[in-house]
């Protein structure tokens, strides 16, 4: 069953040259992005910095207003004013628990805040709920009396997860949930997220730059570059046989944890992501793509191929094997 449908989502940020007056330019942070998330799956959005992956997260939370497109949650169209009530159903876990937990509040208040704001139950109910959730994320009840600075990075991230869970949301957006943690703690948090998903039947949107994580944990993946979709499909298929040249380059850039596999001369992607203020016309990846052709100055169409969606002119005629 579809839990979330996003159609032609657009989020633009205005750039002003002068202090007053109309904006002269727009950064098209998310430009015509469509995807669907099934109930109970882990859906990944991958991309490098500036790809627009976090902007999608904030648009799904209603924190960034969208400039176009529609969001359909549980079959109902979501308008900007609906987010206030909808936020109970869609929660987010941020990358850096240091900057997303209020340093002046006790852990108990931090976790209970959502329940209070949404007026869920009385004090006794809230107390019990908070105690219950804090044990579910692997913390002890005496953590509740503490302040964030008294906790380690991993513990703080567990609090972030508890805060998201306490409202019993249907969809949780994980924005780089392990990126700021130590290697030995990352695996703990990942396992916790997997356990919770299985126990509570949660749906995750995982936003990350870490392809190893995506490969390991997610069911389907959306690859983004400069605000646009490059490729989308089942994670396994994408990792085993990427179709889009960008996806392939991205996978090839990940260092392999094996000293026997050191390619000194492998092809690596040259150049850098163009400025989002001035993106290339047509396919945004054309400036770095080795298969670039004249056609690439035109907007690539969405092509359904091998059970996935790919935006690349190479596959329009399907004559070329990558």
């Amino acid at each position: 069953m579809k839990l979330l449908e996003v159609k032609n989502l657009k989020v633009f940020f205005p750039i002003k040259d002068k202090l007053f007056g109309k904006p002269t330019k727009f950064v098209k942070a998310v430009n015509n992005v469509s995807f669907e998330v099934e109930k109970g799956e882990i859906f990944s959005i991958v991309g490098e910095s500036g790809s627009g992956k976090s902007t999608i997260a904030l648009a799904l939370m209603g924190i960034h207003e969208r400039n176009g497109g529609s969001i359909i949650f549980n079959g109902a169209e979501v308008n900007q004013e609906d987010f206030k009530t909808l936020r109970r159903k869609i929660q987010i876990v941020f990358q850096d628990p240091d900057s997303s937990l209020d340093p002046r509040k006790r852990i108990k208040e931090i976790i209970a805040e959502g329940l209070r704001v949404h007026r869920v139950g009385d004090k006794a109910f809230i107390d019990e709920k908070v105690r219950d959730i804090v044990e579910k994320v692997g913390l002890t009840v005496d953590t509740l009396r503490k302040y964030p600075h008294e906790l380690s990075g991993g513990q703080k991230q567990r609090v972030g997860i508890a805060r998201a869970l306490v409202l019993e949301p249907e969809l949780i957006i994980l924005d780089e949930p392990t990126a700021s943690l130590d290697v030995s703690i990352q695996a703990q948090i990942l396992n916790l997220l997997v356990d919770l998903q299985e126990a509570l039947g949660l749906t995750y949107i995982l936003i990350t730059h870490d392809l190893k994580l995506v490969e390991h944990i997610s069911d389907r993946t959306l690859v983004m570059y400069l605000g646009k979709v490059m490729e989308m499909g089942e994670t396994k298929q994408i990792m085993n046989k990427p179709l889009h040249p960008y996806t392939k380059a991205l996978i090839d850039s990940v260092p392999v944890p094996n000293p026997e596999k050191r390619n000194e001369n492998e092809e690596i992607l040259t150049g850098e992501i163009p400025s989002p203020l001035n993106p290339p016309e047509g396919c945004p990846f054309k400036t770095r793509c080795k298969y670039r052709m004249e056609l690439c100055s035109k907007e690539p169409k969405s092509i359904k191929l091998e059970n996935r969606v790919v935006f690349c002119h190479l596959y329009e005629s399907k004559n070329l094997e990558v």
Partner: protein, 324 residues
């Protein structure tokens, strides 16, 4: 003779909460032309090791309490002010913090050559352009006249490496040089380090928390934890048969490309210890799956196993090495 030898180095930080032992008697050496990887989590002491060699520990809180560092067989710290930037140079994680924001890149590069190599302005200009070109910076003549903020993250890191390599140093210390970069840019910077390794005789200390990056660049690896070195191995041995339970745990928790998609990962239980109050005996014993009684009581010495050394009681009975 090794290029660099660190012997029994102990570094303390005096902070309001007490005395924190950031390094606790570590010893290692580095050969000429070798790339030594240092792996560790936050608080393991990997950056403190780098700063101690450079004599750049934050004053007045940080100080070397014990131990010696030898460079080409001579005590390093007496001469470090002459050597720093010339024979020993460093690249940091965040290039924006280590470049001067109000000077053009060209000026910053030329300054190094004029200061250390006594070069004429014209020669320094040409050498700097050549250095930028070697790092794959397009159109280096124009870039010389740009300010750091006009460079992208990847280009800044290239400029930093160019600057560090200007005087053809004997030793380059790179502290998490790719951590702040996107993965496609990380691949480009790693490529540069691989080329440096081939083309120059410079020894490199490459610090990273990422074992995959270390697998790609290092010859030998130090595994650090809570101010101690737990294992020293060649990179091949380390990945083929990790000895220390901590190393084994780190390797097992990498979500690997080849593994079947079972969603659970191996994870090391517990937390990184608080250095103000480190565990007794072996620093890793509270999190170790093989803990025995002795682990809690006595710090294990360095045992020699094959060509590696490991500080773990599991290897009791093997030869003990003093310095590694």
């Amino acid at each position: 003779m090794p290029l660099l030898e660190v012997k029994n180095l102990t570094v303390e930080f005096h902070i309001p909460e007490g005395v924190l032992k950031a390094l606790d008697g570590i010893s290692f050496m580095l050969n000429e032309g070798e790339v030594l990887g240092i792996v560790g989590e936050s608080g393991s002491g990997k950056s403190t090791t780098a700063l101690s060699i450079m004599n750049l520990l934050p004053a007045p809180s940080g100080r070397i309490k014990e131990g010696e560092i030898f460079f080409k067989g001579e005590p390093l710290l007496e001469k470090i002010d002459e050597l720093r930037g010339k024979d020993i140079s460093m690249v940091f994680q965040n290039p924006l913090n280590s470049l001067n924001p109000s000077l053009k890149i060209g000026q910053q590069l030329m300054e190094v050559l004029q200061e250390h190599m006594d070069m004429s302005e014209e020669k320094a200009w040409n050498e700097s352009i050549e250095a930028l070109r070697m790092m794959g910076i397009p159109d280096p003549e124009t870039m010389m006249n740009r300010y750091p903020f006009e460079f992208s993250g990847g280009m800044r890191q290239r400029a930093m490496i160019a600057m560090a390599m200007l005087c053809r140093p004997k030793l380059l210390i790179a502290d998490e040089p790719t951590t702040a970069l996107d993965v496609t840019i990380q691949a480009q910077i790693l490529r540069i380090f691989k080329r440096l390794k081939k083309a120059t005789q410079t020894s490199i200390i490459f610090i990273s928390h990422d074992l995959s990056v270390i697998a790609q660049i290092a010859d030998r690896v130090l595994i650090m934890y809570a101010g101690k070195i737990l294992e020293i191995s060649s990179v091949r041995d380390l990945f083929k048969r990790p000895l220390h339970p901590y190393t084994q745990g780190l390797l097992k928790s990498i979500p690997s490309f080849s593994k079947e998609k079972g969603k659970k990962l191996y994870s090391i239980p517990g937390n990184v210890p608080n250095l103000l109050n480190p565990p007794s005996g072996c620093v890793f014993h509270p999190r170790c799956p093989y803990t025995k009684e002795i682990c809690n009581l006595e710090t294990p010495p360095n045992f020699k196993v094959g060509n590696s050394t490991v500080s773990c009681w599991l290897f009791k009975g093997a030869d003990v090495v003093e310095t590694t």
